[in-house]
Amino acid sequence: MLRPFALHRPATVAEASEILAQQGRDAALYAGGTELLLILKEGLLRVKSLVDIKRLPGLAGIRADNGHLLIGAAATHRAVEHAPEVHARCPLIARVARHVANVRVRSVGTVGGNLAFADPHSDLATAFLLFDATVRLAARAGERELALGDFVVGPYETSRRDEEILTSVRLTPWPAGTTGAYVKYGLHERPTLGVAVALTVAGGAVRGARIAVGCVGPRPQRLAGAEARLGGWSLADVERRAGEVGAEAAAAVDAVDDLHGSAEYKRDMTRVFVRRALLVAAARSAGREGHERHPHTVVV
């Protein structure tokens, strides 16, 4: 059961921002609604208006943009899963999208909604961090672009201002010779942990490594120390010593206790799954697909 509200369907971003500016916390942005309608039903949020932005022109688009991949905020997970542009430029993201929540949430839930809600137990933000994602925020006064890491500031907390609208996320495809993997693990509806890794290999050695860990703490994070450790390693080194990187990641990660597990457990799972994800990425880099199957684990 939902309490009454007015539904605004502005024609432009400026118009939407105007409504938000006028109504402040009495209005909420509405795209897919998979998160918003839940907290409205539970009475945790009460608003006078919803501002429907999914019909704003261009907001649901997915396109290449000057070598980047631009995903409109109102694009659904399902659209991301199937978009040829995503498959061509950031195929890992298409695979991640295919495993978000369940098929119904994927049909309706949007990329922008997911990022803006900033649920700490989410897949997308973690995976996006691997593509140096930036988000574009638009308001009447103009636009600004922020690194995703600066946008998501805590659990359910972003740096979006009330009158701003997240319009798109920009991903930078990986350089040639890069392979990646996303591994998520958990018993519950939302993951306990998500690990995204990518290895850029040239001349038989790792020239760049990206590691992001999500769900275990207040927000997803890139782990620069663990990434740095991989520099210059051969694939054989990675296969042999991935555990060291896992341990480094575990030491660096910010983990909290919740129903998904204790901080201690999540920290150790970070160790385990960073290693496992690296092994998958390394195997892919060597042209091998296929990995060991583990319970409650999804590897993409």
Partner: protein, 165 residues
């Protein structure tokens, strides 16, 4: 698209189970309540009320959605399929037949959602592997059957791989 907010009721025109329907609905009306209380289509059911269990699954333009967490105004101009629209007159949909034959129905509370989810899966992937079926049903819970017979029934409706190629 309009700059005027919808404050009270607005008119929604859609196709429900192949028939055109016109309704006035309030912006906060949930699709599940409109289907059940206004259109007397009771096959979609409320259980978890948070998009986890799948008992309220209906198809909107062929895609499964949780009607419990979906605004009714969204179906304007779209096509909605509920379990009541699966059979062709008295002729059951093959999935319905298979669910009966395989004993995939017990209390029946999840059945409508299971059938519609399976229909969406087979439309997307006519020859899914057993793993793919189980994965697709991640958000479709059943507390009676233990799923074995549901999985069997769905797989029985899949096009054999060879034929699909």
């Amino acid at each position: 698209m309009s700059a005027i907010p919808i404050r009270s009721s607005s008119s929604v025109r859609c196709i429900v189970n192949g028939r055109p329907v016109a309704l006035e609905v309030r912006p906060e009306a949930l699709l599940l309540d409109v289907l059940r209380d206004r259109l007397q289509l009771k096959g979609a059911r409320r259980s978890c009320d948070m998009q986890v269990c799948g008992a309220c699954t209906v198809l909107v333009d062929g895609a499964p959605v949780s009607a419990c967490t979906y605004l009714a105004v969204e179906v304007d101009g779209r096509e909605v399929t509920t379990v009541e629209g699966l059979a062709d007159g008295d002729r059951l949909h093959p999935l319905q037949e298979a669910f009966i034959d395989h004993g995939a129905v017990q209390c029946g509370f999840c059945t409508a959602g299971m059938l519609l989810t399976a229909k969406a899966l087979l439309a997307e992937d006519p020859s899914p592997t057993p793993e793919r079926v189980a994965e697709y049903l991640r958000g479709s819970l059943c507390r009676c059957t233990g799923y074995r017979k549901i999985l069997d029934a769905i797989l029985a409706c899949a096009t054999p791989k060879a034929a699909a190629r």
